[in-house]
């Protein structure tokens, strides 16, 4: 149980800030697409080496990066926008993944990849998750400024610096890396939940980027801890329990968040003079 909690916290450290940037870049559904995109790589790994964590991870990483690269190049060289090219490539990737999984293995194996095994994390998996979190935070800090500019005023970044495409690809690589890490603990689909639900909650509570990242991290930590407890006492799968908890926190925030929640719309506020 303690391993499970540590694993989830490592996933949260990487996923929560990335989710904030995805949300602000209006790419909230991109994590979902990428989580499907890594499936064929994980399936190839599964076909080659069975349930080997490292091989599954490498396969997932390769497939995710390939889809991100293909979608990125397509977006920048054709009329297709990012959502369209990403949707196209992830669907191809997902179909390929399902075909590959069906070649060898049962539905149980597929569920394992999709929903994870947080209660069975071993030392190597924990080390991998810690490593991904340790890599993600410094890299995000390094590319934070161009990421912000690209969100706010993309043409400004293109004018003052040629680093935009590189930063974009580094960011996409971080998304893939964290999803691959996440599927160790939560499964590919559930990892996106820990990426996007805390970020969405944070948007309701915080006004600044730093505040959003802080609230997002706290929400992800709380969802991990409470979700694991919920999963243990109700004997439910851990991944969905954690994501459901994050979902409950979001729904509460939709009602309670000051200035932006539903209650605040109908609550009489005193106003300032200037």
């Amino acid at each position: 149980m303690r391993r499970a909690l540590a694993g989830c916290l490592f996933v949260a450290i990487g996923c929560a800030p990335i989710g904030v940037f995805l949300l602000l870049r209006r790419m909230s559904l991109m994590g979902d697409a990428m989580s499907h995109a890594i499936l064929p790589g994980a399936a190839v790994g599964f076909l080659l080496a069975g349930m080997s964590v490292s091989v599954l991870s490498l396969g997932g990483l390769a497939a995710g990066l390939a889809v991100a690269l293909a979608a990125g190049v397509t977006t920048r060289t054709t009329i297709l926008r990012e959502d369209a090219s990403l949707a196209a490539f992830y669907l191809i990737s997902l179909a390929l993944g399902v075909v590959l999984v069906s070649l060898k293995g049962s539905n149980v194996d597929l569920l394992h990849v999709l929903f994870g095994t947080v209660l069975a994390l071993d030392d190597s998996a924990l080390l991998l998750l810690a490593g991904i979190a340790a890599l993600t935070l410094p890299l995000l800090i390094l590319i934070r400024r161009p990421l912000v500019i690209e969100c706010f005023d993309p043409s400004f970044l293109r004018v003052v610096s040629g680093c935009g495409p590189v930063v974009h690809m580094v960011f996409l690589a971080l998304v893939v890396l964290n999803l691959v890490g996440g599927f160790q603990a939560l499964g590919t689909l559930m990892a996106v939940g820990l990426m996007m639900l805390p970020a969405t909650t944070a948007r309701l509570w915080a006004r600044t980027l730093g505040g959003m990242i802080g609230v997002s991290l706290l929400t992800a930590f709380a969802a991990s801890y409470l979700g694991l407890l919920f999963s243990y006492h109700a004997t439910l799968p851990s991944g969905p329990a954690i994501v459901l908890t994050a979902g409950m926190l979001l729904i509460l925030s939709l009602f309670l968040a000051p200035h932006r929640g539903l209650f605040s719309r109908y609550w009489a506020h005193s106003h300032l003079e200037g």
């Binding site: 602000l24 590319i143 912000v148 500019i149 969100c151 706010f152 993309p154 004018v159």
Partner: protein, 291 residues
């Protein structure tokens, strides 16, 4: 308008590449009126831009067709024309944001990466959680780069630029809470900090009130007097007649380019409208482009 130089070189005497006199930024610091505050000094040769048979467009359809001419160093030019005339496309092409279908853009005395470009407000994400200070400090990109922090002295520059545009008390405000006029003032403050020798403005005075327009015009005039080359896309012809000595009248093709009084004639404006309306979306391959 000036004629574009040959590939071999620039006629330096006629284009007036020049060193600027106002190197002491302190000479402007502390002024309280809008437009009278800190303006970053040039400290380098003012830039000029030449267009050589430039064609810009989308999916092989030209939005700007075989345009040649030059923006002289230190000139102040309005780009006018009907909707869809290719004005914004021209600015994007000059900045390298759009690859030419044919022809080329030559920058002299500076490069596009060191120019300041103000897009239309609609192209910016106004809901992004960033403060006014955060946006204006982006004007210091070439000093800050990827990761260098905003030091006290740089923060002071940001504050001075904000004071110049009348937003001294807005540094910590969220961008999403600004009005359209305040937002535009903020972008002008960022532009001031860029210290660029060439400034391209895409409809900078659209949908903002008269007072804000006057304040921002004062800033623009100040930048121009500093010797910077300013090109602005505008729709208000009265404003152009009163404040812009040079005008480029565009209707996908060049209609006229030169002193404003000579360009904004009734005949030229009618021609611009006629060219726009006569545009053929089913046109055959351009013989000049294919040659």
């Amino acid at each position: 308008m000036v004629a574009p130089p040959s590939r071999r070189g620039l006629r330096r005497d006629s284009f007036g590449q020049r060193w600027l006199n106002h190197h002491d930024k302190n000479a402007f610091a502390g002024a309280s009126s809008v437009g009278g505050g800190m303006i970053t000094p040039l400290g380098e040769i003012a830039g000029s831009i030449f267009l050589h048979d430039l064609t810009l467009g989308y999916e092989r359809h030209p939005a700007v067709h075989h345009l040649s001419g030059g923006f002289a160093a230190g000139s102040l030019t309005a780009v006018v024309g009907p909707n869809g005339a290719g004005k914004s496309t021209l600015l994007k092409g000059m900045m390298g944001l759009l690859r030419p279908l044919a022809g080329r853009v030559d920058w002299r005395g500076t490069i596009a990466r060191h120019a300041a470009y103000l897009p239309q407000q609609a192209e910016l994400e106004r809901d992004f959680p960033i403060t006014v200070e955060g946006v204006v400090s982006l004007g210091l990109w070439h000093q800050l780069g990827l990761w260098r922090p905003l030091t006290a002295s740089l923060r002071k520059q940001v504050q001075e630029a904000l004071a110049t545009v009348g937003l001294a008390s807005f540094a910590k405000r969220e961008v999403s809470s600004l009005s359209g006029g305040q937002f535009q003032r903020m972008l002008f403050a960022r532009m001031i900090l860029q210290g660029a020798s060439v400034i391209l403005l895409d409809e900078p005075f659209t949908a903002i009130d008269h007072r804000t327009i006057e304040d921002l015009l004062a800033v623009m005039d100040r930048l121009h007097r500093e010797g910077r080359t300013v090109v602005a896309v505008l729709h208000d012809l009265d404003l152009v007649r009163h404040r812009f000595p040079q005008t480029l009248l565009l209707a996908r093709e060049l209609v006229a380019w030169g002193p404003t009084a000579d360009v904004l004639t009734t005949n030229n404006l009618k021609r611009a409208q006629a060219l726009q309306e006569a545009w053929d979306e089913q046109a055959p391959v351009c013989a000049r482009g294919a040659a």
